[in-house]
């Protein structure tokens, strides 16, 4: 009887595991295989070249800048989203009229496609007729050429990305704050702890599980940043604001170097793994056991 039950439980997981195998595992293996070949992405001719694609990748003149961009998007957004999200969570955790409305508004930009948001924002930051410059003109300051320097463009992408997706962190922190029993805070208040002390000594340590979730999810997602870059700068000027994700797509479909794109894909996967697994382990070890 027990054995039969166990078997039917296993059978119930099969449809899901089947779909995962077809659409995640097989493409991944397929991608690794293609990275050892030169291929234009659609033709019949595939030539085995061993590790040549990887050798070419690590001598690619564009790779350092694109990797640095990816790191700026990844760590910059992760930091900003967590700080903004925590601040927003503390703000809407207070009771005031219209609090639910503000909460809903702070989460709203996530509903808007990253591509469309990028397009709108590109009109905000342009030099001529840009929305931000029109606003500055009201205060009598001259137009600023926001996108002149590609490093500044990268920072703008980071800020827009953090602003758009900060609501997710806010909700996670809000749930974390709601889980903190008010008896701890009351006891601390009786002992004379100030608001800041309560935050740093009680709330923050108890929020570490929420911090783990927020940091890891946002780090992974922002290292994969793609649509917003396409919408905002399309990687330009001269591929200088590109993220690795966009570079892979350009290599595959525009430059028709499928093998090379697959190698870049594996590089990005390994980069994400090397960066996020140790951080995940570190944060988990700091979680408070009650």
């Amino acid at each position: 009887m027990r054995k039969k039950k166990k078997r039917s439980l296993m059978l119930m997981t099969l449809p899901g595991i089947f779909l995962i195998c077809i659409f995640v595992i097989i493409p991944l293996i397929n991608g690794v295989r293609i990275s050892f070949y030169t291929w234009n992405g659609y033709g019949k001719v595939m030539k085995f070249v061993g590790l040549d694609n990887f050798k070419a990748l690590f001598t690619d003149m564009r790779l350092p800048r694109i990797t640095v961009n990816t790191l700026i998007y990844g760590f910059g957004s992760c930091l900003l989203e967590n700080v903004l999200g925590l601040a927003a969570a503390l703000f809407v955790a207070e009771k005031f009229r219209g609090r639910n409305g503000i909460r809903a508004i702070l989460y709203m930009p996530i509903m808007i496609s990253g591509f469309i948001m990028g397009k709108i924002m590109s009109y905000v930051f342009t030099l001529d007729n840009g929305v931000l410059n029109d606003l500055l003109a009201v205060f009598g300051t001259g137009p600023v050429y926001w996108m002149k320097n590609s490093w500044i463009s990268s920072l703008i992408i980071t800020v827009v990305n953090s602003w758009q997706y900060m609501g997710l962190c806010m909700l996670i922190y809000l749930a974390g704050l709601q889980n903190i029993s008010s008896s701890y805070l009351d006891a601390a208040a009786i002992d004379g702890a100030s608001g800041w002390q309560q935050f740093f000594k009680i709330k923050l340590p108890l929020l570490i599980p929420a911090i783990t979730t927020c940091v890891i999810t946002n780090l992974i997602n922002s290292l994969k940043l793609y649509e917003l870059v396409v919408g905002l700068t399309n990687g330009g000027p001269n591929r200088e604001t590109m993220s690795l994700s966009q570079y892979i797509q350009v290599l595959y479909f525009d430059d028709e170097k499928a093998g090379y794109a697959a190698a870049a894909g594996i590089f990005l996967f390994l980069l994400i793994m090397v960066l996020s697994l140790p951080i995940n382990r570190f944060l988990r070890s700091r979680e408070v056991q009650l």
């Binding site: 119930m12 899901g16 995640v24 709203m108 509903m111 808007i112 496609s113």
Partner: protein
């Protein structure tokens, strides 16, 4: 805390709220403001349009392709829900009732799958879909979508099922029901609430999904709404900014309205899926 201090915090709070509303509605305001002007109107996008016209909306809404792309998007979402939700709920429940090590493995596996960038899978997926003859097929993209978000959803249902007491299963078992029957008659009804939030998040995901549809749905009669709008934004021959903004508004406004109506489920579901894990 004296009365005066309270008043000043109230004022500061009000100012912050007002700023939030201004900044967060700015993109939608810009979409609306630019969409009601003529293509030849190059005045500032910030200030309200002089002589607003609905001409661009009429152009968009009388284009049969926009309705076709709305229908495609809804079909895409419906099929993905059909492929994803029952499988993930059933699998997630079964995992939660198996040995603890297995669900721990799924948790680690889930993070690993999350780390695989969509673009890295692009090369492998695209050639697979070509071989399976699933390009330019809403069915194909929905099946792909279900597979790609399976680990996340399964994990979500596993953590939720863990909070359902096993006494319920045992009672059903005593009445002679096997695990499959128990799942459909006892467990599934208990998961109604979180299933609603899952369904909503699939709809939003399909509405905004970009990368795979872009390469797998290349014929314009298979376009989703985002691909339709994208085509107008990236048209390099004729730059009609108001027309693309109108198309953007036609795409963005329904989902924002849907969000505010369904807000309770979306926000609640997000909290459930992130913290309980």
């Amino acid at each position: 805390m004296n009365h005066k201090e309270k008043k000043s915090t109230k004022i500061i709070r009000f100012i912050i709220c007002a700023l939030i509303v201004l900044i967060y509605f700015m993109p939608i305001y810009l979409l609306g403001n630019v969409s009601v002007r003529e293509a030849t109107d190059f005045s500032s996008k910030l200030w309200p349009t002089q002589n607003p016209t609905l001409e661009k909306y009429i152009t968009i809404l009388t284009d049969p392709m926009v309705w076709k792309s709305f229908a495609n998007t809804l079909l895409y979402a419906a099929l993905e829900i059909l492929f994803l939700i029952p499988t993930a709920a059933m699998g997630g429940y079964a995992l939660s009732r198996s040995a603890g090590r297995l669900s721990n493995m799924i948790r680690t596996f889930n993070i690993l799958v999350m780390m695989i960038p969509g673009t890295a899978l692009l090369v492998g997926t695209y050639s697979l879909m070509v071989n399976l003859h699933l390009t330019n097929s809403i069915f194909g993209i929905a099946l792909y979508g279900a597979g790609a978000s399976m680990t996340g959803s399964m994990f979500f249902y596993t953590t939720f099922s863990t909070s359902i007491p096993t006494e319920l299963d045992e009672a059903a078992e005593l009445d002679g029901a096997g695990p499959v029957k128990t799942f459909f008659y006892v467990i599934m009804p208990l998961m109604k609430g979180i299933t609603v939030t899952r369904v909503i998040s699939v709809v939003i995901g399909c509405w905004n999904s970009y990368l795979m549809p872009l390469y797998l749905l290349t014929k314009s009669e298979k376009y989703t709404i985002l691909l339709y709008v994208r085509k107008l934004f990236t048209n390099s021959v004729i730059q009609d900014v108001p027309l693309s903004f109108a198309a953007g508004a036609v795409m963005v406004i329904p989902i924002v309205v849907f969000y505010f109506v369904m807000q309770k489920y979306i926000v609640g579901g997000q909290i459930d899926s992130s913290v309980k894990g």
